[in-house]
Structures are given as C-alpha cells and as structure tokens.
C-alpha cells in the first residue's frame, strides 16, 4: 500500500513537473514572437552560453576524437580493419558525440548558471521587481536564454565536429603513422550531409531543452540559498536526462 502511494505521488509529481515545463515553454514561445525583441539581452546570452563555452567544447571534442581513434585503431586492428578509423571517427563525432557532448558540456556550464542566476533572482525578489517595473520576466530573462541556446548549440557542435575529426587525425596519423590521405579519404567518403545536419538538428533540440529545463528550475525556486542550490543541481540532472533520453528517440526518428 505504502509503495503504491509512493509510486502514485512520484508519477503525479513527474507529470506536474513536465506539464509546468511545457507551460513555461508555451509562454516563452508566445513572448518570443511578440515585439519588442530582446536583441541586446539575446546577444549577451549568446556570449555567455556560446563564446564562453568554446574552450571546454574544444578540449572535449579533441580528446573524444583522439580516444575514438585510439580505440578504433587498436580494436579494429584485430580483424585488420584499422584503415576505417577515419570513418568511425567522422561518423561517431558528427552523428552522436559532437551534439551530445556539446549538449552535456553546455548543460553543465551554462545551464547550471541559468538555474543559479534565475533562482537567486527569484529568492531575492528580483523577478517580482521586474514585474513591478512593468517587464515580463519570461520575455526579459527566459526568451533570450532560450533563443541563444538554440542558436549556439549547433554552432558549437560544428566546432566540436571539426575538432573531433582533427583529434582523430592526430592520433591516427601522428601516433599510428597512418597516411594522411587515407584518413581524410575514409573520413569524408562515407560521411553524408544528413549525418552532419541530423547532428546539428539534435544539437538545436538539446539547446531548447537545456534552456527551458534550467530556466524552469531557476524560475520556480523556493526556499532561499538552499533552494538555489537544489534548483541548480536539479537543472543539471534533468538536462542530462533530457539530452540522453531524447537523443535515443531523435536518432531513431532520424534514421527511419
């Protein structure tokens, strides 16, 4: 009986949470379409979410490309297929690792900051103050973060794709002495435009998900400084789950 009650309240809580995220999403879309447009705030967020994430994205991508090449080279050697290393790297990075790792990095860095910032603004009544100054907090705070994330994630993913493939090159060519021409040939030959665009579309979706989930957690923070801490942790955990779970379904859908 206890168990059923607990399960029931978990399901109700989850459903409420999801509903509340979608309501905030709908309101953000409405506010996004209505003028005036928050150009200045959005550019600032592009800088916050995007430009400042570049170094972490670069490091993540380079090492992921390198380790992919390392694994493939040593693993595929067992059946003499190590020449395929370029293909494995380019397909894995563009279709999967580029968008997903970029999403995770941005969620951990910028998403956590969004939740902490909005949460602090909520508990110090700055969000109420915005309302009293005749400004919609959804328009002023959430829309710029949402738009910036949707723009920035695909852009960062392009960088991750290029650097991941270069990281693979470094290991395959410089470490294992593979011919440079062979690496490029294998990397390009089996790569299709839709691999790249599919990856970028996923990245845009992750950007939307991260922004709305993290802003939602921050926006509805309760309970002072402790609440801000909880909101921040919650934002990162839920974003990670959202990215990893939706990734599977988006991939399955794109591959159809």
């Amino acid at each position: 009986m206890r168990f059923v009650e607990l399960l029931g309240s978990l399901i109700i809580g989850f459903t409420r949470g999801v509903g509340s995220v979608f309501l905030l999403f709908a309101e953000s879309l409405k506010e996004m379409l209505l003028p005036p447009y928050e150009i200045k705030n959005t550019s600032r967020q592009v800088l916050e979410v995007g430009i400042k994430s570049v170094p972490v994205v670069i490091i993540t991508a380079v090492f992921t490309g390198m380790v992919l090449a390392l694994q493939t080279f040593t693993g595929f050697k067992r059946f003499g297929a190590e020449a395929l290393v370029g293909t494995v790297v380019s397909l894995s990075i563009t279709r999967e690792m580029g968008p997903v790792l970029t999403g995770l990095v941005v969620a951990g860095r910028a998403g956590a900051a969004m939740a902490a910032e909005l949460g602090t603004m909520r508990v110090t009544e700055q969000i109420d103050a915005l309302e009293t100054l005749a400004t919609s907090p959804v328009k002023y705070l959430i829309v710029p973060r949402f738009v910036a994330s949707v723009i920035v994630l695909p852009a960062l993913t392009v960088i991750a794709d290029m650097l991941g493939i270069l990281g693979g090159y470094a290991v395959a060519v410089w470490l294992y002495g593979m011919s440079s021409a062979l690496y490029w040939h294998r990397a390009w030959n089996y790569l299709e435009v839709r691999d790249i665009f599919g990856g970028l579309a996923k990245a845009a979706f992750f950007g939307a998900g991260i922004a709305i989930v993290c802003c939602h957690e921050g926006f509805y923070t309760e309970g002072g400084a402790e609440g801000v801490g909880k909101a921040t942790t919650g934002a990162v955990v839920i974003s990670f789950m959202t990215i990893l779970i939706s990734d599977y379904f988006l991939t399955a859908w794109f591959l159809k």
């Binding site: 603004m121 110090t124 009544e125 700055q126 109420d128 100054l133 005749a134 400004t135």
Partner: protein, 251 residues
C-alpha cells in the same frame, strides 16, 4: 484610490488572508502593521497584482487589478513604484541602470536616462554612486537606490515593504524622512508595511493593524497609540503577554 475588499488568500492549506478590507485615499499614507509572517507582504503583492486573490478584490482607481490581461496589467503597473524588503536591485546592472530600468526599456537614450538616474539618486540623498554595482553598497544605500528606482518613472502610488527593517536606527529615520518627502514633493499615495512602530507613527496618516488574516483596527497614529483594542495594544507596546498567541510558546 486603492480599495481592498474581502481579500482572501491561502497557500495550500495555509490560510494567510481571511477577508482583508482596507481603503487608501489619493495622497494618503497608510501604514499596515503586523507580526512577522502575518501576511503583510502577501497583502502588498495583491495590491500590485503579483498575486491573485482566492476571493475578494483589489480595485485601483476603480479597476480590478486581478481581472486585467497581461498587457493592461503591465500598463497599470506603471502607476506603481515598489520598494522591496531586500531592495531587490538587479545585481547584474550598475546602480544607474537599475534606477533607469523602466526608462531604458521604454527607449530613452542612455545618456539622458543616466542623467535622470543621477537626479533621482540625489533626491534620495545619494551622490557619486551611479557607476557602482549593487554589491558594493551598504544595506541602507541599497534601500535608497531601490527607492530611487521605484520613483524613476513617476508613479502615483508607492509601496514600501519594510523600508526600515535591517538597517541602523539613524539610517532608518533618514528613510522615514524620505518617505515623508516623497509624499510631500511627489504627492504620491503610499502604502507602507512595517513592524517598526516608531516609523509607523512618523509616516502614517492612518495605521491599519493586520492580525490573523484581517485588519482588526484602523486609525490615525494618535488613535492607535491610545487604542483600547487589547490585540493592537499588545502589538504596539511589543509585549509577549496578552491575547496574541505566539506559535511554539505556551502561555
């Protein structure tokens, strides 16, 4: 004019307001007194439409603020300036950007808006702070910047949420003087909530005592000072003994 009629508000099972009736005439300064957690801030948030009543209404110049759509609500909010308990300054902006927030949003040029901000800051007794960040200010200065921000768009109604709480007595009295000055110079209607009786006597035309979710007494400062209502008496004299129950303490 502000008319609050039979205002009820609960959060979950917690009934905070149980039928508040209160009127504030134009140009009047009304102070709402009441214990911590008695619902003073909740009452104030209903006046400016940050919260919606479960029952009852708040009329601002005859218009029910809870029935306005988003666009008209934001229009109506321009009539108000609110000073928050913790000042609620935007900590990502400089002092002058805080003060001129509404002006900048409505398209005023930066140079001009900064000039207005400097002028408003001078009105609340601050000079040479316009380029500082809020984190660099003391508590009393933050409140004054909050006040400058609240008056920058020339509101007709000012709401003060515990303007003197948490600052030293001398600064608190300076804030009292500012509140009086605002009313005399800007001719605003004001509602102040506080549990500081010294401040209440000084700035009020009328004092209303909020207890157990209702206004149990209203009167001029003199009437309140000489009240015969045992609840009000106990509150204004600050006694732990009397009819007011303190949760967690047995009599």
């Amino acid at each position: 004019m502000i008319e609050i009629k039979d205002l009820h508000k609960a959060f979950g099972a917690h009934q905070v307001l149980r039928g508040v009736d209160l009127q504030v005439q134009d140009g009047q300064s009304v102070v709402v007194i009441g214990g911590s957690g008695s619902g003073k801030s909740v009452l104030m948030k209903h006046i400016i439409g940050l919260l919606r009543p479960d029952k009852g209404s708040v009329l601002i110049d005859g218009v029910d603020i809870a029935k306005l759509d988003a666009k008209h609500l934001y229009e109506a909010r321009k009539k108000f300036g609110m000073l928050f308990q913790g000042a609620a300054l935007f900590d990502s902006m400089t002092v002058w950007e805080n003060v001129s927030f509404v002006l900048l949003r409505s398209g005023m040029r930066a140079a001009e808006a900064k000039q207005v901000a400097i002028e408003k800051l001078r009105l609340v007794g601050l000079t040479d702070v316009e380029d500082l960040m809020p984190a660099e200010l003391s508590g009393g200065m933050r409140k004054r910047v909050g006040l400058a921000r609240a008056i920058a768009h020339q509101p007709q109604i000012l709401l003060y949420d515990e303007p003197t709480t948490g600052i030293d007595p001398i600064m608190a009295d300076a804030i009292n003087d500012l509140i009086i000055k605002m009313r005399e110079e800007l001719l605003v209607t004001s509602v102040t909530i506080t549990h500081d009786m010294h401040s209440a006597y000084k700035i009020a035309d009328r004092i209303a005592f909020l207890y157990d979710g209702r206004i149990v007494e209203t009167g001029t400062p003199d009437e309140i000072r000489n009240t015969s209502n045992p609840l009000t008496r106990q509150f204004i004299t600050g006694s732990a003994q009397g009819p007011i129950r303190i949760e967690g303490l047995s009599a």
